[in-house]
Symmetry: C2
Subunit: 224 residues, 2 copies
DNA sequence: ATAAATAATGACCAACAGTCAGAAAAGAGA
DNA sequence: TCTCTTTTCTGACTGTTGGTCATTATTTAT
């Protein structure tokens, strides 16, 4: 049946059109000030039709969050394969995350606002499930990097890899959120350079993770 | 004028009654599902009167956030004076924050949800300003601890104190948010023990901050 | 006792998320 | 090409809720 396939494609592309419109509106006016009527008319649809494709306003927002986390996790994968050494993999993942936050700051905000007061994450939702899958993928990429690093000697082996992964995720989320916040402040209120905070974070994290018996210069790294 | 003073006291206590009611409702039903009518009737007030004391629903929420951060910053002060050594001060501050998150988890959630999609922090608001003041106080308590630690030798002096303060704040926010999230999951989904993540965090942070020339055992600390 | 000021009320309004009966379009079968 | 069925689309409508305001009640000052 070629027809039902085409219909599926059309449905998917319609969903994407809606998300395109919603994205622009959410990013420029914010979640609260964007109405479903706004989104509908921007996507050249009636409100009723909009609700055929997304069952609530939150669901639309989740759709954008899914785009965001898919982008992020793919950047993590690219960073992962950039080197064979676990330590460098992790380093590159950190830089990828920083790049994501700088280049796709709106996406970053969406992701960090997901666990906010006004969104119910407990509802059953296909999109929310896919977000969870990507989240797990991100965690796996990091854990794998750590395990590989422990094997090749570039990361100290006496910590639990999974625990370290969660610690790094938690810490970096906090650091990126703060950088994001500071970036939105007027220049004269910015008490520090965002990039500098990130650099210090990387430095401190890797200071904790490095293996004292490993020769980092051999793999082209200078560590203090 | 004793009368106007009494009136001011009454107004303050009325505000507190409202916040008491609002707190219970927000904490049990969530922000979205709590209506201003709910709060009004729970505080035995008409809606119009409620709006005499708080000019919006957000403002009520800010009022609760103010209670939260006042509590947190006072716990920080107590931790600060618990020792003379900067390193121990910081350590106690970290533990105080952990205690706050465990004992006042609802307050913690309020604070971490403040920078969420659905709240406009740019509006002019007296309460929001007071929150800012307490936030600065917290930052100052931490920065002072660091500076004292650098003076007494318990913290390595080759880092910028203010930058370190922001890094610690950012990291711990991230870590506590993750712990909070995990705590809300059903036990079988919890991949790690919250306390353990916190311990590892403290360990890694202090590993970075410690001064190699300082004898920690002399002040009763065993560091690995 | 009366006027002035302050506090409280609840009916009312506008905005908005979400619904649904019916119209329009697309597809299948002849 | 015509007709019946299924799918897609529509926009008027509903219920809820944040916020307002003219009016009433209470307190204070004279």
């Amino acid at each position: 049946m070629g027809i039902s396939e085409r219909k599926l494609r059309e449905k998917e592309s319609r969903k994407n059109n809606i998300l395109d419109s919603a994205e622009k509106l959410f990013f420029s006016k914010g979640y609260r000030d964007t109405t479903m009527d706004d989104i509908a008319s921007s996507a050249e649809l009636s409100k009723g039709t909009l609700y055929l494709y997304f069952k609530s306003k939150d669901e639309v927002y989740f759709g954008i969050a899914l785009r965001a986390i898919v982008k992020l996790s793919s950047m993590f994968r690219v960073a992962f394969i950039s080197s064979n050494f676990g330590f460098i993999k992790l380093n590159e993942i950190g830089r990828a995350h920083y790049k994501f936050m700088m280049e796709y700051s709106d996406y970053h905000k969406v992701l960090s606002s997901l666990s906010s007061i006004d969104i119910d994450l407990t509802i059953a939702s296909d999109i929310l499930m896919q977000i969870g899958i990507n989240n797990d993928l991100i965690a796996k990429t990091m854990t794998d990097s750590i395990l590989i690093g422990m094997q090749d000697g570039s990361i100290r082996p006496d910590i639990n890899a999974e625990k370290l992964c969660y610690l790094l995720q938690a810490e970096s989320n906090g650091v990126f959120d703060m950088i994001q916040q500071v970036k939105c402040l007027p220049k004269e209120y910015q008490k520090f350079d965002p990039e500098e905070l990130f650099t210090t974070f990387l430095e401190s994290a890797f200071y904790y993770m490095k293996n004292p018996n490993f020769n980092y210069e051999e793999i082209g790294l200078k560590l203090n």
